[in-house]
Each structure stands twice: as structure tokens, then as C-alpha cells.
């Protein structure tokens, strides 16, 4: 099994549209939507869910207002400004402390130091993940709960299960749609992958953000390929991107021109290669041939790396 992760640094450069088109071209493969924060791949593939699981992240603290004496110890110790004196009163205090769930990072310090034992601490369900069937093969995807944390862990879970599905069904490729940025979900998407495809647009922001995410990939030892999207928007910057990529030993696999068919396909819930024979679709076909050659040469994904990034205590 090989694993290709599509990332960009900057958001909105066309990752998901490219992933969807590549899935059509790759033949049966496993799709993994690692952008658990704002997953969009399912909008194109209308997946039929065959397995649904809850994702439990860390715990969240909650003050039982009946037991709180409003001593203020929890507020004093909380480093996340998650605790305020705005809970309902009880027989002992006119107001009690309350924990804002969206600010609580689940450290448990308040729980351990409450003299009254008034603080509950229960694992919170912070999302769901699914295995589905689509017209391009099985898909593993997830939905992070509203204002939930632990997106990196959920990404790791999605990837691990996608690899398992690929092995079970003897499919050769896992195709991952990544998320923007360079933080925890991106690190979780990249670590141990066979190959990264950087989909970048030729803008000063695109160049700036590509540089940072390329540095991250180098540091994580993941080889990469570059595809410049909407390349005709600024030819000079497209060239600059390709030169910059060379410095990071990231070969270019082609340019994709701006093409309104990409948005039209999305509105029709189709991939651009299904819906169009236009310049973007033609370019993506060429990009895919180049990627396929590189994939043959690349290593199998390392799940050991996945474990390492999230659970060092296992090592």
C-alpha cells in the first residue's frame, strides 16, 4: 500500500478538487479525508456510510454547581481562562464557578485540586468517523464536533483505518486530502506518508505558505511533489514556486490552469475529470501520470510514525 497526502500550506488552493479528480483517475483506491475540521470530499462522492464510530478525545471538566463553595481555587489554578464566577447560586454561595467547555483543555488540574470534589471529569465525545462506499472506492472520513479539540488524533485515526481498509481489500493506494496550515492536523497527516503532493497557487501568500509546509515535510522526512494550481494567474510566481521547490528537492509534476469548469464540476457534485475535458481536467490527467511514476518508487507508509506523533508513551 502507498499513501499520497495532498497538502498546501495556504487554504483554498484546490486540494480537495485535485484529490477528487485524482481518485477518479487512480481507479479503485481508498480515500481518506484528513481535513477533519472542514471535510468537503464527501460532497463530491456522496458516500454511503457502512461503518460509524464515535471518537472520544480528552476529558472536559464540569463543576457540579450544587457542590461548589465558590472558594476560587479552580479559577486561580486554571491557565486557560476557562473558569468564571457566573454559575447558578446554591445554599452556600450566591454564585458558583462555571467552566466554559470550549475553553477547557482537559488538563484536570481543577479536578485534582478541588477541596469539595465538586468537579466532574468525563471523556468527551468530540467527533465521529466513518467508513463509506463511493463510486471511486471506499472512503474513510470524519466529522469533528463543534468547537472540539484533538483534530490531530482524529486525523491519525482516519489514516490508520484507511490503511487497514486498503490492506483488507488489497487496494494499492490511500489518497489523503489534508488540511491547511502547518499545525497539529497537518503534522498528523504528513507523518510517515509515502509521498506528499503540494497543491500551491502562484500568489505571494501561496509561496510564503508553501515554504513553511515544505520545511515541515523535509523535517518529517516525507518526499514531495509540486503542482502549481491556477498557474496562469501569475506566471512569474509559478516559476518562482518551481525553483523554490527544487531547493527542497521537490520535483514539479505540472501546472494546472485556472478553469471555471472546476467550480462548475463542484456545483454538479462531480470531479473535474468526470465533468470536463477542459484545460484543468487535461492538466490533472498529466499530473496524475507523473505522480503514478513517483509512487512506484516511494516507500510504504510507516504507521510507526503515526504512533510516535500522538502517543510517545508507547515507545
Amino acid at each position: 500500500v502507498k499513501e499520497l497526502v495532498v497538502i498546501s500550506g495556504k487554504g483554498g488552493t484546490g486540494k480537495t478538487s485535485v484529490v477528487a479528480a485524482l481518485a477518479t483517475l487512480a481507479g479503485p483506491c481508498v480515500l481518506a479525508d484528513c481535513d477533519v475540521d472542514a471535510a468537503d470530499l464527501h460532497l463530491i462522492f456522496e458516500p454511503k456510510v457502512i461503518r460509524r464510530e464515535e471518537f472520544t478525545g480528552g476529558s472536559k471538566a464540569r463543576i457540579k454547581s450544587g457542590h461548589c463553595t465558590a472558594c476560587g481555587k479552580c479559577e486561580e489554578l486554571c491557565r486557560f481562562d476557562a473558569i468564571a464566577l457566573d454559575g447558578p447560586g446554591n445554599g452556600r454561595a450566591p454564585r458558583t464557578f462555571r467552566i466554559e467547555a470550549t475553553a477547557c483543555e482537559g488538563c484536570g488540574v481543577c479536578v485534582d485540586h478541588c477541596a469539595e470534589g465538586a468537579i466532574e471529569f468525563a471523556p468527551a465525545v468530540c467527533g465521529q468517523w466513518f467508513v463509506s462506499e463511493t463510486r471511486c472506492g471506499p472512503m474513510v472520513h470524519a466529522r469533528l464536533g463543534v468547537a472540539a479539540e484533538n483534530s490531530g488524533k482524529l486525523v491519525t485515526l482516519v489514516r490508520r483505518n484507511a490503511q487497514e481498509v486498503a490492506r483488507d481489500r488489497a487496494l494499492p493506494l490511500v489518497l489523503c486530502d489534508g488540511s491547511p496550515g502547518i499545525g497539529c492536523p497537518v503534522i498528523a497527516s504528513l507523518t510517515g506518508a509515502s509521498l506528499a503532493l503540494f497543491v500551491v497557487e502562484p500568489t505571494v501568500s501561496g509561496v510564503h505558505d508553501f515554504r513553511r509546509v515544505a520545511q515541515l515535510a523535509v523535517r518529517l522526512n516525507v518526499p514531495g511533489l509540486l503542482a502549481v494550481n491556477k498557474a496562469d494567474l501569475n506566471e512569474a510566481l509559478a516559476r518562482e514556486l518551481e525553483t523554490l521547490a527544487d531547493e527542497y528537492a521537490i520535483p514539479s509534476v505540472g501546472r494546472i490552469p485556472f478553469d471555471r469548469d472546476v467550480t462548475r464540476a463542484q456545483v454538479a457534485r462531480k470531479t473535474v475529470v468526470e465533468a470536463s475535458e477542459g484545460p484543468a481536467a487535461t492538466a490533472i490527467r498529466r499530473v496524475w501520470s507523473a505522480i503514478r511514476e513517483r509512487l512506484h518508487l516511494s516507500a510504504a507508509p510507516q504507521t510507526g510514525g503515526l504512533v510516535q506523533i500522538n502517543r510517545p508513551e508507547d515507545n
Binding site: G181, S205, N234
Partner: protein, 282 residues
């Protein structure tokens, strides 16, 4: 007034709206601060081209062990919910990227063997861009956790009549940390299926935080009318409709402020500013 410019989906035009809004409002003589909260990929500086006057490290506090006082009792690793500190034989290991700096291990240590030491995770850059007061946080490559850096840049930003917070995409911790405490969250979206889906998630996030919200529809003439229908059904105000314009995209690609390069775009932004000042959305 603090206005957070956010979105579920990336690349919808947050930075374009935020930088141009700051520029237009400041040119009109208002005291404006622009704060780049997208510490993973900060882009505002590329357009505002600020003169940086102060630079300092953003630190994260990490536990450090004084092995002379450590009795290897293991209390620190028992209380740590993140698995960030481990007692292995005569060693205490700290996994820096897992530590949330909650201070729990220090409180638990019976011998006072743990102290905190700062470790830089990013950089804070403050300055001025013409009349705009500029602040930016920049996370070091390889650091996983951005909320501490976001908190640092928000705390350091200059006081102003209008503070524009340029937020990271998404709906989880970084986005939440950025919009928290603002007077209005403006969600920039585009009228496509991806734009609509991620807008719905972002609306849920903002509502969970109990903050007022409104929408800016960018590239309003592409795609379909589902975003408009959604906003109408949810009683969400659309404060500006910005048409797609190749000149805006090209100015953006070169790092130019579109309000300078394209007069019709400046009018859209001025209209948006007017809506804020009327308090129409609040």
C-alpha cells in the same frame, strides 16, 4: 470594536477582506489595529508591508526537572492527562509537543523538583503599516500547538477603535482561540458547495461561543445561490457581496492591496465598513 474575520473553508478571502478593511478604515482617519491570528500561515504582512518595530519570542512554559530533588515517585506522570511527562527509571522525560503548560505536574510534585522554563515556539512581531497598527504571531515550523501563540499575539496587539482579527481557517482550537472575545465574527465564504458546507460548520462554532455573526459573500457571482438561501433561512446578514474580479486576484497574487489597485473593490470594502459602523450586524 473587535471584528474577527474568519471562515470554515480556507482561501475564501479572509486576509483580503481583513487587510483591505484595516487599510480603508485607517485611511479614513480611524485608529485601527490589524492582528494576524493565523500563526501557522500568517499572510497579512505580505499586503500591509509593515515596518516591524518590536520582535520577541513567544514562549511556552515547560516543566524542567531538578534531578537532585527528584525522588522518582512518578506523581507528575500520573497527573498529566496529555502523556507529556514520563518517569522512566532515574530519568524524567518531557515530551514538549504534547505539553499544554497547564502546570499540573508542578502542583503534584511533592519535593519541588519541577520548575518551569520557557521554550520559544514562535515569534511576535509588532509594528506599523502606514496608519495601521500591525501585530503578527508566527509559529515555528514543527510546532503542533498554535493556541498559545494566538493568545500571545492577541494580548500584545495595540489598543484601537477598530481591531481587525485575521483568523485561521477551520472550526477547531486555532479558529476558536482567535475569534474568542470579539464583538462580531464575520465569516467570509464563497457560493459553492464547499463554501456552504464549511460555512455551516463555522456558524455552528460561532453560535457555540455565543458571539454575534455575519457573512461576507466573496466571488458572489460564481457557483450557485445555496449560500444566500442558507443565510436567509438562518437570519444571517450578508454584509457585502464582492464580485469575482480577475484584477483583484492578480493584485492579490502580487501582494498588493486590492483597494488600491481596483477602485470598485475599495467601494465594496467601504460599504462593508459602513455596515459595521452603523452596527447593522449587531
Amino acid at each position: 470594536m473587535k471584528i474577527a474575520i474568519a471562515s470554515g473553508k480556507g482561501g475564501t478571502g479572509k486576509t483580503t477582506v481583513a487587510t483591505n478593511l484595516a487599510e480603508v478604515a485607517a485611511t479614513d482617519g480611524r485608529l485601527v489595529a490589524y492582528v494576524d491570528c493565523d500563526v501557522e500561515e500568517p499572510n497579512g504582512h505580505l499586503f500591509l508591508k509593515p515596518k516591524i518595530e518590536r520582535q520577541q519570542a513567544i514562549d511556552k512554559r515547560l516543566p524542567r526537572v531538578d534531578l537532585a530533588r527528584c525522588t522518582h515517585c512518578g506523581r507528575c506522570s500520573q497527573v498529566c492527562r496529555y502523556g507529556a511527562i514520563a518517569c522512566v527509571g532515574k530519568q524524567v522525560l518531557v515530551f514538549t509537543e504534547l505539553c499544554h503548560s497547564c502546570g499540573g505536574c508542578l502542583l503534584a510534585c511533592p519535593t519541588g523538583a519541577l520548575q518551569e522554563a520557557p521554550r520559544p515556539i514562535g515569534e511576535l512581531r509588532l509594528g506599523t503599516a502606514g496608519p495601521v497598527r500591525f501585530a503578527e504571531g508566527r509559529l515555528n515550523v514543527g510546532e503542533a500547538m498554535s493556541p498559545p501563540a494566538i493568545r500571545a499575539v492577541k494580548a500584545a496587539a495595540a489598543k484601537a477603535d477598530l481591531t481587525v482579527l485575521d483568523c485561521p481557517p477551520g472550526t477547531s482550537c486555532p479558529a476558536i482561540e482567535s475569534v474568542r472575545g470579539s464583538n462580531l465574527v464575520v465569516l467570509v465564504t464563497e457560493p459553492t458547495p464547499f463554501g456552504l458546507h464549511d460555512l455551516k460548520l463555522a456558524v455552528e462554532m460561532v453560535r457555540a461561543l455565543k458571539l454575534p455573526l455575519a457573512v461576507v459573500l466573496n466571488r458572489c457571482d460564481i457557483g450557485d445561490d445555496q449560500v444566500r438561501q442558507f443565510c436567509a433561512s438562518q437570519w444571517i446578514a450578508i454584509l457585502a457581496d464582492i464580485p469575482e474580479d480577475r484584477r483583484v486576484a492578480e493584485a492579490y497574487s502580487r501582494g498588493e492591496l486590492a483597494c488600491v489597485a481596483v477602485p470598485s473593490f475599495a467601494e465594496s470594502i467601504r460599504g462593508l465598513l459602513g455596515r459595521f459602523l452603523q452596527g447593522a450586524a449587531l
